[in-house]
Symmetry: C2
Amino acid sequence: MIQSTNNSKEIQKHLVIVGGGFGGIELAKRLRKTNLRITLIDRNNYHTFQPLLYQVASGGLGADSIGYPFRMIFRGQKNLNFLMTEVQEIDSASKQILTSTGPVTYDFLVLATGSTTNYFGNKLLEKHAMPLKSIPEALNLRSDLLQEFELAMRIDDPKLRQQHLSFVVVGGGPTGVETAGALAEFKKFVVPHDYPGLNASEMEVRLVEAAPRLLNGMSEHAGNKAIKYLNELGVNVSLNKIVKHYDGELIQFEDGEELKCKTLIWSAGVRGQTIEGLGPESVERSRFQTDEYLRVKGEEDIFAIGDVAGLISAENPKGHPMVAPVAVQQGELLARNIKKLVLGKNNLEPFKYKDMGSMATVGRNRAVVDLSFWKFGGFLAWLVWMFLHLMLLVGFRNRLVVFIDWMWNYFSYERALRLIVRKYEESPIDKAT
Amino acid sequence: MIQSTNNSKEIQKHLVIVGGGFGGIELAKRLRKTNLRITLIDRNNYHTFQPLLYQVASGGLGADSIGYPFRMIFRGQKNLNFLMTEVQEIDSASKQILTSTGPVTYDFLVLATGSTTNYFGNKLLEKHAMPLKSIPEALNLRSDLLQEFELAMRIDDPKLRQQHLSFVVVGGGPTGVETAGALAEFKKFVVPHDYPGLNASEMEVRLVEAAPRLLNGMSEHAGNKAIKYLNELGVNVSLNKIVKHYDGELIQFEDGEELKCKTLIWSAGVRGQTIEGLGPESVERSRFQTDEYLRVKGEEDIFAIGDVAGLISAENPKGHPMVAPVAVQQGELLARNIKKLVLGKNNLEPFKYKDMGSMATVGRNRAVVDLSFWKFGGFLAWLVWMFLHLMLLVGFRNRLVVFIDWMWNYFSYERALRLIVRKYEESPIDKAT
């Protein structure tokens, strides 16, 4: 047998990566040809392509098309072991993490746990709003949406009916804009055909944003275009508007307005999913504070990447945006640095974010794209958006089926993936699964 | 405006169809161009293509590909209204049915409620076994299967590990045979690649049948071929074997054998899903007893079709087999008869079942097909099976995506649709959703 080119005499170090999002899988893949033993831990058995969750929720794509099993991603990567479990605590003194299936020791630990929905402490809102950060949540929202229509079909009182047909999306970031656009298309193309007797105008899609503009992370050009496109689709956009209270029936806004509505989709905030156990200096504003090498403050062998990493610098006084490209670039950089550490080198590279731009789509045919040198919108932007998202999907099968579903949706104006598989009564309880 | 060719002066009758399986949708479609007002009631918002449930369970197809929303099937059928609700009772004296959303009156009522899993009164079995009659149940089984593997990967004790990797399918009808075949393929093609460290031989797939042969509804030739194919795939087939007791951990067979096993898939029996309220002569052995015109005994305006209809005749002393072709043919016939009844004619046609044959598939490349004039197996049978199932699927999008997934599965040997979206701890409780 020919030995691998790695020096097999060096002691094999154990790298534990917690979280298989964009950052975690990038890092793991790039350490394929090393002598490291890698354990990837995730609470799910699949990677979620979060940018398309709203299309699962609105019946345009199947859940299986935007999730891909880790075991298939890492098939053939001999130095990686996947472990499906929930991490409970880090014990950095003894270099181990405690999980729901027992302790795991590490030499290097990378925290790539991503972010979760932030309700800013509003428990009632948390109980009644629909989040959209995971595949089960997208399926819950899909079932909820379709059940509201089935219910409305049986209600004679127009006022009560309208409460079931009011969909309020809170948060004007990309998820909120894209979800509102998809709901507006459902109103325009599906409701008139499939719910005879319901007047499509009874369905209201409203997008509410606390800031004075949409798409805060993008250019003003993009924010204005998004409002224009949403208005053309019939979405009622409210800026400078803050939700104060929601009990599942009635929304109270800070400006005094009240609105009866059964479905409130909450995409107004995310926060890092930190893990307990490290010193008080390690976490601030729900993110692991790191130095420029992504090393968690106060720790030697623990790193953080992606949404959960808070790397404060002069250019990024609030940390980097919680988006996939940051996670991917941090995964790339950390892979290089860990290779150096394993070899005993100390010339680590600091992280520098190369912002390639950002984009959001608004219904069929339209999107906004911000590049450093060019900001544009409309049909071309939409084609760019589609192409890039197809390329970023993991797995050829998923790319192919998403492509077919998109063509199908585009030419038929249908949304065929409309099975209610999670019953209405359960959706609030079942939310966290 | 030109009037429709129907005599619009006749009083419009209301036909209520309970159940949107193969029989119910066939009947409803064929009454499209009549003056009847039709209400189709189902507890789900989609039609389920039951013959492919086992492929959803084993990760070969997505749930969305084998379910199709009723509202899309009947889009454009102006005389049909869909109602998603649960029927609780029939009150034939006042010609109405009671549903969970209120009463519905009818002029003609057709009961097409299909069948449900029959545990023959064994409550413990019902609690712990996994059924496979609906899409949520298929998703539960898929999640359970994959979670057993994730668990097994963490267990050091080989004996305990094997309990998690023992899958016992009870019932040697087409569902049992096809499920066992799919599990055997998972063992053969997926386990060696995706679960490093697990020895594929630790996974045991066992098919248990109470009768002395498999595929009781088919020819002896088919039954023998199925055993041969299953054995070649590594399935352990036991005939003349009856499950007495199962508590989620231990199976006790009537012959005294005991087997520790965490997953028992129950496909050993179905029974008609009858509804309460009719006279005692109307139901026997869980089926609505009908005359040769499919009229429920003791009733004037109530009919039954499909699995729930028990039409006893000299040729079929036990009633017709509970299969899709019977339901479709009964739907066709009843459509003709109801048209006559509406016109006041009494020359109803009696039901005669034209048995076109039956088929079952066993893993890749193999199936058995029984036609009246030819019984064959192997690759050709498998192609025929695939072609017919593709044609019978509802909706072009679903046909296309199923075709692509089949090609993908065939050439890649993968089963990519492996998301655990229903958590282990919940699956037994969640079973009925």
